[in-house]
């Protein structure tokens, strides 16, 4: 039994509480750190660079990691990133041509790809991919992970290397595609696949070293992963400072530790 006047009092109280809650919810967020979009091969390296940046300058940046192709699309649709570190310079140059960036940015590293397999996998990674060829021929591969070649540069390079080695047709039906190279690495080192081809920078990370073994794939087997970063139109002073910081020796050292080759023609 509900007493109507009493309900009205409760309703009024409820409405007041609701108003208070809504006021708290719509309260504007504090002045925020700039959001930086980074290719997934930088998953661990960029986090270290950002931590070092914070220690040195006291300023923070927010990182969003994903596939370069997806970020390029999101930037075109108006995503509020202030800086974009792409795994493939083509995306940056296209954005620059279409007026979404401040300029053409700068090369910050050259990436490599590696074949990896978890400990206990029948696949023993080797750079020549001979063991992969043998395992495929013997029917020992049921699933093999790469990033989606459609929008993830590392997936595209993995495809090129597999084509170069003449294994593409054989491996094609076994492929599982990660949405980005980090997800591909997670697939490749799970018990659900026998291995995969991912970014060398991820293979070198402690998280992956603990899970499996890797071998570097010759860089002549695929077009170079020239990685370019750029400031977007809405970049603020903190993003500008971070952009400069990535080019400094401290950041270069971190990137080198993760297997990135410094660009020779740094522009």
């Amino acid at each position: 039994m509900i007493d109507a006047p009493e309900f009205l009092i409760r309703l009024r109280r409820g409405a007041l509480a609701l108003a208070a809650v809504s006021a708290a919810l719509v309260a504007p967020a504090r002045a925020d750190a700039p959001v930086i979009a980074g290719a997934s091969d930088l998953q661990f390296a960029l986090a270290e660079v950002a931590a070092a940046f914070k220690r040195e300058t006291g300023q923070g940046v927010k990182l969003s990691m994903g596939s370069s192709g997806n970020f390029a699309r999101q930037i075109r649709q108006g995503a509020p990133f202030q800086m974009f570190l792409s795994a493939d310079e083509r995306y940056v140059l296209d954005l620059a041509r279409d007026g979404f960036t401040r300029d053409e940015g700068t090369l910050y590293a050259v990436g490599r790809i590696a074949v990896i397999a978890r400990h206990g996998s029948p696949l023993r990674p080797d750079g020549s991919l001979d063991s992969l060829a043998a395992a495929l021929a013997a029917g020992g591969i049921s699933r093999f992970a790469i990033a989606n070649p459609e929008h993830a540069p590392y997936g595209k390079r993995a495809e090129e290397a597999l084509r170069h080695r003449g294994l593409w047709e054989a491996v094609r039906a076994k492929l599982v595609l990660g949405e980005n190279v980090s997800q591909a690495a997670q697939f490749a080192t799970s018990a659900n696949t026998q291995g995969g081809i991912v970014a060398y920078s991820l293979a070198l990370s402690p998280q992956l070293v603990a899970r499996g073994t890797y071998a570097l794939i010759p860089e002549e087997w695929h077009s170079p992963l020239r990685q370019r970063m750029v400031l977007l139109k809405n970049a603020g002073p903190v993003a500008e400072r971070f952009f400069a910081y990535v080019k400094e020796p401290a950041s270069r050292a971190i990137l080198r530790r993760f297997g990135f080759v410094p660009p020779v023609d740094a522009n």
Binding site: A4, L25, V35, F44, S64, M65, N70, Q77, G78, Q207
Partner: protein, 222 residues
């Protein structure tokens, strides 16, 4: 635990409920008491998000609200920021996608009120507003609370749409559900497990509350 993501999800869910409360009461009451041609179509449209794949919905939102669309351009001109990949866009998507979760339980709640009671209220000369406050709401409240709890919990768990129209921008569009996905990709299973446990507990509590409320729907004036 990604506290920023958790707070973002709670804000999103809370605001969705705040907006849907009056919308749901108006729509639910209208659908419960009125019969009109095309009522089935209206009900079907409201129920559509229940069966529509979130990616399909997300795709249409991108097309409809993107920077190239009239709506997106209007928003950009009016507020100086885009609609997609922002919290506002996420909130708008969440409101539309939660319509069935808000409207249907409220509609059931209003439908359970015996017509004689409302007729008696009208006969006594109560205005529609007074009738709403003094008769309808006191009797339909289990349905309304169910709707609020369901919309809240459902928003916390929404993934596909957020991925499509939100991206994963920390503090702006990275919800708990997206943060879990990101943490798994970063091989941080410990953080993913923490957040998953929390969402599991919230979902379980929401369902338990809903069941408790729905047992009260239809309880007559004693």
């Amino acid at each position: 635990m990604d506290w920023t993501a958790l707070w973002l999800s709670l804000r999103l869910a809370g605001l969705t409920v705040v907006v849907l409360l009056p919308v749901g009461i108006a729509l639910g009451r209208w659908l419960a008491y009125r019969d009109f041609p095309g009522k089935g179509l209206v009900e079907a449209l409201i129920a559509l998000p229940l069966v529509l794949p979130p990616t399909v919905f997300g795709y249409y939102l991108l097309v409809a609200f993107g920077a190239a669309s009239p709506v997106g351009q209007f928003w950009q001109a009016a507020f100086g920021k885009p609609l997609v990949f922002t919290f506002d866009g996420l909130l708008l998507a969440s409101i539309i996608f939660n319509l069935p979760f808000a409207v249907q339980p409220m509609q059931r709640g209003f439908e359970a009120i015996p017509p004689e009671v409302r007729e008696a209220a009208a006969c006594c000369g109560m205005s529609p507003w007074r009738s709403l406050l003094r008769v309808d709401l006191p009797l339909a409240w289990p349905g309304i609370l169910t709707a609020m709890v369901l919309s809240f919990a459902h928003t916390l768990g929404e993934f596909g749409i957020v991925l499509m129209v939100g991206g994963s921008i920390p503090g702006e569009t990275r919800t708990v559900a997206i943060a879990i996905y990101d943490r798994v990709q970063a091989f941080d299973n410990a953080a993913a497990a923490e957040m998953s446990t929390l969402l599991l507990a919230i979902s379980l509590a929401a369902i338990a509350l809903t069941f408790a409320f729905s047992r009260r729907i239809g309880r007559k004036l004693g």
